[in-house]
Symmetry: C2
Subunit: 261 residues, 2 copies
Amino acid sequence: MSDSEPRDAATVDAFHRGAFWLVQPAAKGHRSGMDAMMLAAAVPSTFAGRLADLGAGAGAAGLAVAARCPQSHVVLVERSEDMAAFARLTLDHPSNATVSARAALLTADATLAGKARAAAGLADASFDFAIMNPPFNGERDRPTPDSLKREAHVMTDGMLEAWVRTAAAIVRPRGGFAAIIRPKSLRPLLATLGGRFGATEIVAIHPRADADAIRVIVRATRGSRATPVLKPPLILHGPDGHGFTARADAINNGRASLLGD
Amino acid sequence: MSDSEPRDAATVDAFHRGAFWLVQPAAKGHRSGMDAMMLAAAVPSTFAGRLADLGAGAGAAGLAVAARCPQSHVVLVERSEDMAAFARLTLDHPSNATVSARAALLTADATLAGKARAAAGLADASFDFAIMNPPFNGERDRPTPDSLKREAHVMTDGMLEAWVRTAAAIVRPRGGFAAIIRPKSLRPLLATLGGRFGATEIVAIHPRADADAIRVIVRATRGSRATPVLKPPLILHGPDGHGFTARADAINNGRASLLGD
């Protein structure tokens, strides 16, 4: 993939106040932002080991983990060759030398199973943690004419379960899992985690304290049988104005983990 | 049942600042309190029609609906003859004359199905709303030597699904459903609602803003296909001291509905 060039114009955006930079498509395709930062924040700051970012896109969430967790080694797993090319540019960007030293790119489909999955580089129990920001739209929902963006945003039937099955296969017993989802995916995600991951921690993300949640982060432990916990929600904005709450700002900038661990 | 006398000592406790009173067992059996008030608050204040309180115990949640919603008619459905006797005493208590005029008692098992359920008085599509505070402990969890309390607190395998199946049968299309559960029951409840109820609204109840949820209220609409919504959580206590937040106090005292409708 290293000689593959993105077909679209790129931007280079700072994350974690310049701790790392993301090369991503300027207009087409999925552009990363706060969702990726909140997902990465679900990984404990003390995390040490190998982490897979499934459907990594240009690498935002994975690199955010690498930047905050100095003992982590991150593998960006991306199916789209176009997006993987942006991830490659991200890893090769000179400003990212420190974090890229603990990051790698794997062009592979997170929905692969069995021998094909292992052959693609995703061996069973070879990771200590898996994170995912899965496509969030149903197939019939808000179709987009932009095919690169559609690939990042459209969840086909069974795709969420296939991603979770891959996470369950590649994460060692007692290893971690985290996903950021829309509220409408909470029921299918909880259903598909059952029997695979336990000790589920659910964090609702509300734009304001009195508004419905717009995202949910679900963290869980491979093979645990402990019952789910509903953690305090994350509130993004205070009652007056559009600024972030201190907690949301710290999470967005890699200064704090989501669950304080 | 009207001539059946409770075998245990009873207390008479005020709810909704004296709007109604509950006759309930003094020591043994399940004693109602805030859970029942929060469940009742999930019913819109404008609700008009027939509501079933499944597993009503002494009648706390059902009477709280009758007290707040002047156009409601409530049926307390209780399997235990002992608890139904307390519900009878509650309905017959002189202080409850106003609310009891719109309330009835049905001694029946919420897990009944098919013809047996209809024969017991729970006809298909005969209610506009069903509420439930199902037993919350797993069979192997914290067994209690008090058999009356055990009956109220122990959820046997499949009981939650049986209760939801009954609610789906007796509630008319577009009718309402609400349950108060422990967080550990969220996954099985969402799974069993699927295909029966939609437009699910989830409200986490946290003792304090920075503490894990201790209860969850789930409200849904019969036959709706709308996707779930995570509503703002209910916080019971402020950061300083043990007093209730204004919102929790209003809900506990029948001055406000949970979802402002």
